[in-house]
C-alpha cells in the first residue's frame, strides 16, 4: 500500500498524470503523514539535483523557515503607508502639501461664504424696492427659501431687525403659495374649458332656439 503511495507521490512530483481518486487520496494522506511529506520534499530535491537546479547555498528545509517567518510576523490590521521615509526631500514635500492643503480649502470655503453673504445681501437689498421672485416656481414651494434667509438673519442683523426678516420670509412663502395656487388653478380651468367648447355650441343653439320662440310669439 505505502509503496504505491510513494510511487504516486513520485509521479505527482514529476507532473505525471495519476488516476484522480488515488492522487487526491495520496495528497490527503501526505498532509497527515510525516513520512509521506518528507518523501515529497526529498523527491523534489532529487529532481532539482538531477536537473541541476539547486541554488548555490543549499537550504534544505525552506518551508520550515517560511513557517517561522510567518509566525514572527505581527498581525497587521491596517496597511502601513509606504512613505519614502528614507528620502528626506519627499518627506519635506509631503509635509508642505499637508500644511498647504487645509489652508487652501479654508480659503476656498471662506471665499465661497463671502460670495454667499454678498449674494444674499444683494438679494435683500433688491427686495426693498421690488420683490423679484426666483424665476422658477418650486414644486415644493418652501424648500428653496428657508435656508438662505435664516442664514442671512445671522449675518447682518445690524442692517435689519429680526421681525423684518420674518416678514420677508413670510412674504416670500405667501408669494410662492400664490403662484402655485394660480398655476394649478390655471391648469384646472384649461382642462374644464375643453368641456365647454363642446357644450357651448349646444348652449348657443338653445339660446338661438329660445330667441326664435320669442320672435314667433
Amino acid at each position: 500500500m505505502s509503496e504505491s503511495k510513494f510511487e504516486t507521490i513520485s509521479s505527482l512530483v514529476d507532473n505525471y498524470r495519476v488516476a484522480e481518486q488515488s492522487s487526491e487520496q495520496v495528497i490527503d494522506d501526505m498532509l497527515k503523514d510525516e513520512h509521506l511529506s518528507a518523501a515529497w520534499q526529498q523527491y523534489h530535491l532529487i529532481g532539482d539535483v538531477i536537473r541541476d537546479e539547486i541554488p548555490q547555498i543549499l537550504q534544505l528545509d525552506l518551508s520550515a523557515q517560511i513557517a517561522e517567518a510567518i509566525a514572527d510576523e505581527p498581525s497587521i490590521l491596517a496597511p502601513k503607508t509606504l512613505t519614502k521615509a528614507n528620502d528626506p526631500q519627499s518627506g519635506l514635500k509631503a509635509k508642505v502639501v499637508q500644511l498647504i492643503k487645509p489652508v487652501g480649502q479654508l480659503a476656498i470655503a471662506a471665499s465661497a461664504a463671502g460670495l454667499m453673504i454678498i449674494g444674499v445681501q444683494q438679494n435683500t437689498a433688491d427686495t426693498n424696492e421690488i420683490i423679484t421672485p426666483s424665476q422658477i416656481v418650486q414644486t415644493k414651494p418652501l424648500a428653496g427659501f428657508a435656508n438662505p434667509v435664516s442664514f442671512n438673519y445671522q449675518q447682518n442683523d445690524q442692517s435689519r431687525t429680526q421681525s423684518h426678516q420674518a416678514t420677508a420670509l413670510e412674504q416670500r412663502i405667501a408669494q410662492q403659495h400664490r403662484f402655485q395656487a394660480l398655476l394649478s388653478d390655471h391648469q384646472q380651468q384649461v382642462k374644464l374649458s375643453a368641456a365647454k367648447s363642446a357644450q357651448s355650441k349646444d348652449a348657443k343653439q338653445s339660446l338661438l332656439e329660445k330667441d326664435g320662440e320669442i320672435v314667433n310669439n
Binding site: E129, I131, V137, F179, S184, H186, L192, K196, A198
Partner: protein
Amino acid sequence: MKSLSLKLPIKLSFLLCFVSACFSFSAIAADAEQAKFSLERLSQSLRQLNFNTSFVVVKNNQAEPYHWLHGVTEVPLSNRTDTQADTAKQEVELEILALLNGPRRDILRVGNTVSYIEPEYAPYSIASAQISGPIPAVFGRDISVLENNYHFVSVGKSRVLGRAAQLIRIVPQDAHRYGYWLWLDQDSGLMLKLAVITRKGKLLEQIQFTHLEITESLSENLKQLQVTELPKVIELSAKENNTELAWQVNWLPDGFEEVKSDRHRMNSSKQAVEFMLFNDGLVDISVYVNPSQDKQRAVEYASDGATLVLNQVVNNIEVSVVGKIPLSSAEKIVNSVSFNPNKLN
C-alpha cells in the same frame, strides 16, 4: 439713341428682379404649404394611428416623464334603432396619458369622455374630445385655426429619436407670444420633439419623445380601458361659464378670444376669484381678479417653463395673469384691466 440703349438694360433688370422675386415668393409659399401639409398629417396621425409612446417634458432643469397611448376601435352605434345597430359602426378613439413620476396623474379618454385622475380631486370626467396635457390639443385637431396668428415654416430635416424628422416652425405673427418648433416623423407623421421658443430663440420648454411604437392592433392597456367604467361626467352649465363680471380686459394679443368667465374658489388657497379665460387656438391665458388685504403690491412674477405667472395689487384689488406668454404681454394685459364702477357692489 443713347437713352433707348440705357432704358433697355434698366427694363431688363426690373424684369429680372420681378422674376426672381416671384420665384422666391413661390418658394416661401411652397415652404408654408409643405409645413401646413405636415401639420395636417400630424393631426390626422394623432387621431387615426394606434401608437404607444413615451416622452419627457423638460423645464426648469427638471424632466417629467409621461406615457401616452392612443388607439382607434370600432363600436356599434348605441343611439340607433336595433335593426340599424347591427351594421352601423362608429370609430372611437381611446387614449391614456400618465405622468410616471410622483403621485398618479392619469388622463383617460374614451371617445368624447375624458377622465382626470389626480391627487387633488376625486376622479371626474368631462364631456370633451380632447385631453389637456403637456402637448397642446390643437395639434390633434384642425390646425388651420392657427393661421390667423402664426406662420408655418418648414425648415429642414434632422434626426430625432433615431428617425428622419422634418422640422416645422410655428412662428407667431407678432411679438406677444412664443413660437413652437415641431420635429415630425417622416414615416408616420407623428411628433418626435416639441420646443417652445422665444422670439430671440431662447428655449423655454421642450418635450422630447423617448420611445415610439406604432401598431396595427390595440394595445392591451387600451383594451382594458375600453371596458373600464369611467367616473361620472360632471355637468358644466353654460350659465356658469359666462358670468358677467364687473371688470374687463381691454388689451390682449390679436386673436385671443374669451373662452369663459366665472366666479370660483381656487382649489389650493380657497380664495374666491373672478376669472376669465382666453385662447388663441394654441395658448391659454387666465386672468384672475380678487380683493386683497394689501393696499398696493408691485408686479411680481415667476415662470414655470414657458408658463408665466404674474400678479399685482392696486387699491386692494389683486389682478393676476397666467399663461404661456412673454412677460411684456402679461404686463400689458394686467395694466389693461379696467373696472366698471356701476357694477361693483
